[in-house]
Symmetry: C2
Subunit: 347 residues, 2 copies
């Protein structure tokens, strides 16, 4: 194919030294004479020696590689969550000299299962990062029982004890609901992420809990489920708009749906921020640039990615972190889409 590589054997022969010595010279062992080390170094440089990573990995029985299996039904994932998260783990991994292997699989698909099985056996990667935890999450169960190193972004409903980083979605949603209530809203709809996703569950809880806390009744019809895409948000508008009396605010389980929702509302001639309040969740970069800009909850996804990755590397190396259950508190970002205080003249 291309240039055959120069191996340690070639190098050793060229210098007139054993393979062992060559290897140890390059690895800075102190049982090789300074002068020999130099000679080996120079020869390596000159011959363009580059260690074969695969051989090294086989011998060391570690890959210095992390796996990230992106759970997305749409292979063409437009969700900025994934890219930002990946940037976080990728950079942290690189900083610690780890490679990052990524692939995508539909949640709960056979392909996903196979990918996890391949990862836990066969020395494919040294550890895995799991995102978008689900109810009764098969991935977590598999990883726990095979005792494979991993860190999840998100908790689960099993009572398995595993390392995770998570944001307190319930608290985030509480902030959002309180904000709207503070503006005078009482009839607040909720467009939920699909059932089964843990973060959706927590966000939904936050919504229900806070409404209850303020003695605001919630009708079944106010809460519907979307698919986390703009289209999903747009499609939900029809149902959410047909209520009588109408909602005065809609909270969306993520920003993408909020954007779709706003867009559809505007196409129907409804002024978001004045006629109705809309809020999202995530604070993706896009959220600051919508018209009107989107009120939302900020999660530091990039940083969460970094932390998750860093924790995983610690675990792989046996440096058990002091705290393997990290919980972050999200922050309310108020922009124009949630409008100002409801006037008396409005319902």
């Amino acid at each position: 194919m291309w240039d055959v590589a120069v191996t340690l054997k070639d190098l050793a022969r060229h210098v007139g030294v054993s393979i062992t010595t060559a290897s140890r010279a390059l690895a800075d062992y102190d049982d090789v004479a300074e002068e020999t080390r130099q000679r080996v170094r120079e020869a390596a440089e000159q011959l363009g020696y580059y260690p074969n990573i695969t051989a090294r990995r086989l011998q060391k029985r570690r890959n210095d590689t992390l796996g990230f299996i992106i759970p997305t039904a749409d292979p063409r994932f437009a969700d900025p969550f994934f890219s930002e998260f990946m940037a976080g783990i990728g950079n942290e991994a690189a900083r610690k000299d780890y490679d990052l292997l990524v692939s995508t699989h539909s949640p709960d698909s056979p392909g996903e299962k196979a990918a996890y099985e391949r990862a836990t056996r066969g020395g494919w990667v040294d550890g895995l990062i799991v995102v978008r935890t689900r109810e009764n999450d098969g991935r977590i169960q598999l990883l726990c029982q095979s005792n494979f190193p991993f860190v999840a972004f998100g908790r689960t409903d099993d009572d398995l004890n595993f390392p995770y980083v998570d944001e307190d979605s319930t608290a985030g949603m509480r902030l959002l609901v309180q904000h709207l209530i503070g503006l005078g809203h009482k009839r607040i709809g909720y467009l939920s992420p699909p059932a089964g996703l843990m973060f959706g569950t927590y966000r939904r809880c936050g919504y229900y809990e806070t409404m209850a806390e303020y003695d605001l009744p919630v009708d079944e019809s106010w809460v519907i489920e979307g698919d986390m895409t703009q289209r999903g948000g747009a499609d939900a508008v029809g149902k959410l708009l047909n209520l009588d009396p109408p909602l005065t605010a809609i909270i969306c389980g993520n920003d993408l749906m909020a954007i779709g929702t706003m867009n559809r509302l505007q196409n129907l001639g409804i002024n978001v921020g004045r006629d109705i309040a809309v809020a999202g969740f995530d604070d993706i970069p896009w959220a600051a640039y919508t018209a009107p800009p989107l009120t939302t909850i900020r999660q530091p996804i990039y940083k969460i990615g970094q932390q998750t990755c860093s924790m995983l590397i610690n675990i792989i190396n046996g440096w058990e972190p002091e705290n393997t259950h990290i919980m972050l508190t999200p922050e309310l970002i108020v922009r124009e889409s949630s409008g100002t205080r409801l006037g008396n003249g409005r319902r």
Copy 2:
């Protein structure tokens, strides 16, 4: 660490057969008896045998892994181009049973150079995908001279012959300029991607060429350089707005800058689509949801990713593709940001 893996040796001993036979049984060679094959299969299942991928790779001298080194100055790349492109190569790679190794490095940084050197030697990956080709692109030069398998998205200005997929940016820009000229615009500004990026060069050429073609003079001050981000787009507005007589349209070298531009214009109370036309380039998903929706040029990034990846895999396997220079023609997407025909009452 965790469960020690069961190896081929264990399996062979358990079945009472040689390692060779066990290996060949699992690989479906026809020189092993059907009955033996069955026994090996069952034992493998029962013992939970899983081949060690690293050992296999060492022996086969191939990794079945592709590398993708993302060239981004901002580690926290928000550019949807990368995620969509990666989705394309990732899914194509998975379909063909290849793994995808990703990392990010600043363009032209020492780290990037090191990453490419590591990749070409040492059997890290079997092939590389290169994006955002640059003028006098060191990556391409290195890969060409070390004869390492790769495919680029984008051409270069060297006269190296290498496999690439590219879109005809010049033609795309021509469509855009013609569209605006057709609406009556004569004073059209251009916010260019940074110098050095090949696609920026082609787009800029398309702009200049088409203006010249229609005998429209272009003043130096109409063309400035941005950094491809929303902020860059916003920052450019100041300079582009200070002209006398003013511009009637601004073309941005990518959608992200167009979004920033529109946003800033609107904050200044200028109505995009009526007072001034704005257009972008890329048609990122976001572009359809801006207010007003963005006129732009569509590139099928996901598909380009797939094609690039597919070509690379062919090259790695020695099936030289018939055509290693694929050129795609982009498509004009007219939305409201470019407005309607310029009235007589306007300049």
